[in-house]
Amino acid sequence: MLVSVYRYNPETDSEPYMQDVEVSLPEGKDPMVLDVLNLIKEKDQSLSYRRSCREGVCGSDGVNMNGKNGLACITPVSEVVSRGKLVVRPLPGLPVVRDLVVDMGVFYKQYQRIKPYLQNSSPAGGRERLQSPEDRAKLDGLYECILCACCSTSCPSFWWNPEKFVGPSGLLQAYRFLADTRDEATEERLADLDDPFSVFRCRGIMNCVSVCPKGLNPTKAIGHIRDMLLSRAT
């Protein structure tokens, strides 16, 4: 199978280029894209990419495969290969450090900005802050985010304004704390989001939903935030 990999080493290359590599896949098996990258790295040690758990939990190996973002470790080659060719590029919209490794700085900055931790200054009733099963259920579909950045880097609004628009991943996390009955900072959180960029740059095109490897729905969470902002303002 022909694999075309994005290569860029800022120390030696004046500009990025695509490297075509012929990879022979094991007979009768459908390996993951990460396995293919590992096969290429066996031959060419200079290829750089991030990976860790190789089972879709750590979120390290988010890459763009034949035009669609996803985790290389849980994406079967057969699912993305088109006309016998696999094209692997780094996540779009973030600065490339080397080959498939991107600088996630601005992505983490937006995550930090939404204060991704429980804020509650009242003393806990007992040993811990209890929630009813119904209240706990409100966090389902929100807390599972692994911060792989597949969604935010597939979002044009994030490409154009990564410093100002929080992005689907950050907003999913923002709603995770807005929806948490134990959190007391709802007003401060909403006040920080009520500007034309942070939330409202979302145009609802749902690229984030289409690529999320965990099957989460940031667009729906953004809709909930918008509703909260609207009822706060009226």
């Binding site: 304004n161 009520d194 500007d195 034309p196 902002l229 303002a233």
Partner: protein, 116 residues
Amino acid sequence: MVTNVLNYGRSGVADWVVQRFSALILAAYTVVMVIWLAVNGSELTFAQWQGFMGQTWVRIFTLLTVLALAGHAWIGLWTVATDYLKKSGVRVAFLGGVLISLFSYVVWGISIIWGF
């Protein structure tokens, strides 16, 4: 909180509400005009057209629509400009042109609607 001196209401919710509300006004005006033209359009005379446009409710509705159009266009083009025009000089020049055009349309619209 991200702020920008040129946006319409300084608040994302305000922009969002104005954008949707003005869209409803524009849609309602379009429906009224299309229906009226469908009913009267085949042999429309100038006198008929002037008679229709001269009614007070049509004048008020038209003025409301012109204002809604200006607000709608400003928020929309401000959004497009902040997405695609990255050099602030270029963006300010573009938005300045938009602002002058929209203001001219509003003044011109008023003179057309109320000037006869």
